[in-house]
Amino acid sequence: MVGVVKEVRAALPDAGCLVVDDGSRDRTAAVANDAGAAVLKLPFNLGVGGAMRAGFRYALQNNYDIVVQIDADGQHDPANVPELLAALDTADLVMGARFAGQGEYEVRGPRRWAMRVLARVLSRVAKSKLTDTTSGFRASGPRAVRLFAEHYPAEYLGDTIEALVIAARADCTIRQVPVAMRPRAGGVPSHDPVKSAVYLGRAGLALVFALIRPKSTFQVGSADA
């Protein structure tokens, strides 16, 4: 993680760098702080979506217009951020996609099929071709930041799938930009068929509920866009 923070500081010297510590008990916060990042220390574990919304709210409160999410495991290369930012000129939400021609990240089996189906459905919802919908490497423009600060879902898988659907249904423009993903520093994606089935089920459920949720549940109070 320190490596990621240092890379971000080096690649984007003008950007603010925020690390969200989702209730960990180790020295994450102190270490990130020493590396030059602002650290949002959640008092207990809120999950990925929870940590994410906290980050968006921080951005909104501190008048940041644009938020780029980068995983702390080193998968995402901060050098790609300018490309995402460039794409933000014509979109509210830009996804860094790993299947779009760059990089050699590979998933196999049912998980791969699940991701394909998800990609197809979400492309339709977003009215834009998306191939890697579970990518956590995203840049959000002012409109998406306001939306996510209020409505980033805390549910499991909500952080990727549901957030996309919410953005699409709130009429944000979504685009993807091909990026190379690096191997993760920690943890490997599982190939266990049972886990894959559970993943598929939960992803499907998250998707269905995101689609049938009334629009009023994710309206932004003072949105001027």
């Binding site: 602002a38 650290v39 949002l40 220390k41 959640l42 008092p43 207990f44 809120l46 929870g50 919304r53 906290a54 709210r57 921080y58 409160q61 805390a154």
Partner: protein, 123 residues
């Protein structure tokens, strides 16, 4: 219905009502949560005192064995209470989430201010 079972039914209903009212009195239960239990206790009391009402109600709805109406109503009330609790839990979770975000942000601001303050006194 034997006199003993009659007394037993009334006593049980009264016991439920007594517990709920006591808890309300001592603020160990809020009105909004007590509503279902009060309703259940009152129904049980009415049926306990006048068993005829149960037979009449079962007859009106078309249930042949009156006790089945008791089971149905009991399960329905328990189900609704559970549902209400799940919904309250969801609300509470989203409130704690908000509080957690709020404390984290204030914590960050305090640390930032302390850092700046330390910088000033160092100059």
């Amino acid at each position: 219905m034997t006199p003993t079972s009659h007394i037993f039914a009334v006593a049980a209903a009264l016991a439920i009502l007594l517990v709920v009212v006591e808890m309300l009195r001592h603020r160990r239960l809020r009105e909004r949560h007590a509503l279902w239990w009060l309703l259940a206790g009152t129904l049980a009391l009415i049926v306990g005192i006048f068993p005829g009402t149960l037979e009449w109600a079962a007859n009106v709805i078309g249930i042949e064995v009156p006790i089945n109406l008791v089971f149905f109503v009991s399960i329905a009330i328990l189900f609704l209470v559970c549902l209400q609790h799940s919904s309250e839990l969801t609300k509470l979770e989203s409130k704690t989430r908000r509080l957690a975000e709020e404390t984290a942000m204030q914590d960050l601001r305090i640390r930032e201010l302390e850092r700046r303050l330390a910088g000033h006194s160092g100059d």
